[in-house]
Symmetry: none
Subunit: 401 residues, 2 copies
């Protein structure tokens, strides 16, 4: 999407758009000639909607590229995921709801164990219990360093996110995690001149962390890696005159949507059904809703074909609730494929369904990989869907005379 070009054509409209993202939606058959997860799922509501829609595929980052959740979402949100890179540290921080500012530095952390000589004996401190991690994080958050604020937020077990906030900080800093045991944690090294101040502060912090935790068991030290800042992205409100909202249970998806200027809506609960309740509750207040379903990806990555099928069916059971709200335009797709047989994200284009009053119907009454291959959308770059949603919602003026 050439969003600077598109921005000039944006016109206001009184229409509503839903982007329903089933994480890891695309799949593969268990056996050659068999059905994929989506094809196996009994999805009468999505099939009926497909009959009134255009079908095709979304390609997150081009042929052969499997994307993570960060780039996968940036792409379907309309932004080139190769040009706009989100580092893992920033993603983790977003994932635990840290309100990361544009100047803040984020990193991923481990609580770990070192021996009396400072040699790393367990990188994960025995996969530290989560409550223990909360206690240690609280201790670390009492450390004061001149000129910066450093905040640690536990994620799960030994993992935490670290955020450093201050002036003149840059994030080209090497990892302190050596990734192997039997050696000492590394010093943080500035990889450019601008990052020297931050690297020095990181080393000071780590020394104080070691002192603070020295009598603790089983974790008595920290490792840091993946230092970075947030990418600065254009905002939906300013670019597209959209009041955009996101509905997600997991922090990372809330975070990525916040990056492009969506307002993160509260979900009362953690189920798929709860998310659709949030959609109903806030329907009048926004023009654009991104609704994220995590479960489909989780079971794709677990390698659990049947549970992924079941989660797709659970989403299908909610489709009528969404349609009852009378959205003008709906996109159903994923941020990437996660075939259960691969137990991971994959490079396969993601099935996509585009519904709206002015969408040319393909008349194919099925939502699945083979059905989408017959659809009129073809294989579209994921970044093309946002302009399509906006156009179908009457929000893009004609270019030129």
């Amino acid at each position: 999407m050439n969003y600077e070009f598109l921005k000039k054509l944006i016109q206001p409209a009184d229409t509503k758009i839903v982007m329903l993202i089933m994480d890891g939606l695309g799949g593969l058959p268990k056996e050659p000639g068999g059905k994929t997860e989506l094809e196996t799922a009994h999805t009468p509501h999505m099939d009926a909607l497909a009959a009134r829609s255009a079908l095709g595929f979304s390609s997150p980052a081009g042929a052969g590229i499997a994307v993570g959740s960060g780039p996968g979402h940036l792409a379907i949100f309309g932004f080139d995921p190769i040009e706009h890179e989100i580092g893992r540290g920033a993603l983790e921080a977003l994932g635990v709801d840290i309100d990361l500012g544009a100047e803040d530095i984020a990193a991923r952390g481990n609580f770990c164990k070192v021996d009396a000589n400072g040699i790393l004996t367990d990188r994960r401190a025995g996969r530290l219990a989560t409550p223990e991690a909360f206690r240690l994080a609280k201790m670390l958050n009492s450390i004061a360093i001149d000129g910066v604020q450093i905040q640690v937020e536990p994620i799960k077990e030994h993992r935490f996110a670290l955020v450093m906030r201050g002036e003149g900080l840059a994030a080209k800093i090497s990892d302190t995690d050596p990734l192997v045991e039997g050696v000492a944690p590394r010093q943080a090294v500035a990889l450019d001149q601008a990052s020297e101040k931050a690297a020095r502060l990181v080393n000071t912090y780590i020394q104080k962390a070691r002192e603070t935790l020295r009598f603790e068991e089983p974790a008595n030290m920290v490792l840091l890696r993946g230092f970075d800042k947030l990418p600065v992205l254009p905002q939906y409100g300013e670019l597209f005159k959209l009041r955009a909202a996101s509905i997600a249970v997991n922090g990372m998806y809330k975070g990525v949507s916040r990056l492009v200027g969506m307002q993160v809506l509260p979900v009362d609960g953690v189920t798929i059904e709860d998310e659709f309740s949030t959609l109903e509750m806030f329907w009048e207040q926004f023009d654009f809703f991104y609704l994220h379903i995590k479960q489909t990806d989780t079971h794709g990555e677990d390698g659990d074909f049947d549970r992924k099928v079941k989660e797709i069916e659970r989403v299908d059971a909610q489709i009528q609730r969404m349609l009852n709200l009378q959205p003008d335009v709906v996109l159903i797709t994923g941020d990437h494929s996660s075939p259960a047989i691969l137990r991971s994200h994959s490079w396969h284009p993601v099935p996509a369904l585009l519904y709206g009053k002015y969408v040319r119907e393909d008349g194919i009454a099925e939502f699945g990989e083979r059905a989408c291959a017959r659809g009129s959308l073809g294989v579209l770059p994921a970044t093309d869907f946002l302009p399509l949603l906006l156009a179908n919602a009457g929000r893009v003026a004609k270019y030129g005379a």
Copy 2:
């Protein structure tokens, strides 16, 4: 199209290409599940041709972008319509058959009314009668200014095109039309240093125009806006070694084809049938023919589904005349879609049919949106069709050894 790359591969051939553009061809059904205009039309000749052709869609300027006729034509002629922008002033001038040179400045004009204090009281002078506009234009065309020629050409009612011809003129000039009444017309202001001379001459001209028209009723003044020059485009003759001709009734399409170096052929009459007669008459003298049908767009924009259907059928009745000439390669498509239900240009990709001895036939005996969705071309950028036409006409040599 990377035309600098393509240019190096061009080889001569004794083949003939027809690009038949039905303006606004693509459509939408009147009701969900119904047929589009093209699907509704009884088109036995195009259907028979489709069976021996490859089908697909042309996307003028990317997903979600509805284009005007200028960018739509540049795209199907092979040039990126975002990179090569044609301003409205230049399009208007082309539209009234002004032979606009590369150095000329064009603007859109209104005859308007001001009061004794010079305050604008009617921006359109009561939608001045066209014969009146011709009389006033003649008066204005007697104005002499040192160093430049300024020509006014009436369009319709209060609207006219203005062209300024001279040395060292640039067109970054602000509008004199304030777009509201109750204020005085603005001075033209140069927006860069290169445009200062032209802006000064425009202001001198406007002052003389006011003196010339001061005793006239109801229009006694002029407003100018949309100053620009023609984009400089590569020429078909030089780029592709093509003797290219255009067959069109309306000035704008003649003008746009002239921009890329086509020779505009005379049409004896204004009907679709007359245009095909021109094709027959000049068949031996050119290698490439662009034939433009305006009527399909006109009725799309009128919202008249049935008349658009009828015009498509009228074109279909001419297909055999074209095939009797034994063209080597034929493309039938549009410059954009104009669904009657939208009463405007739209963003939908345009059905496209590519016929030729070396085209892989899809064997789909129907030319329509759903048929094209099953075609092997997929959704192609409009700019890809020209290289396809040239290759199928044996005019592109192998790249590399």
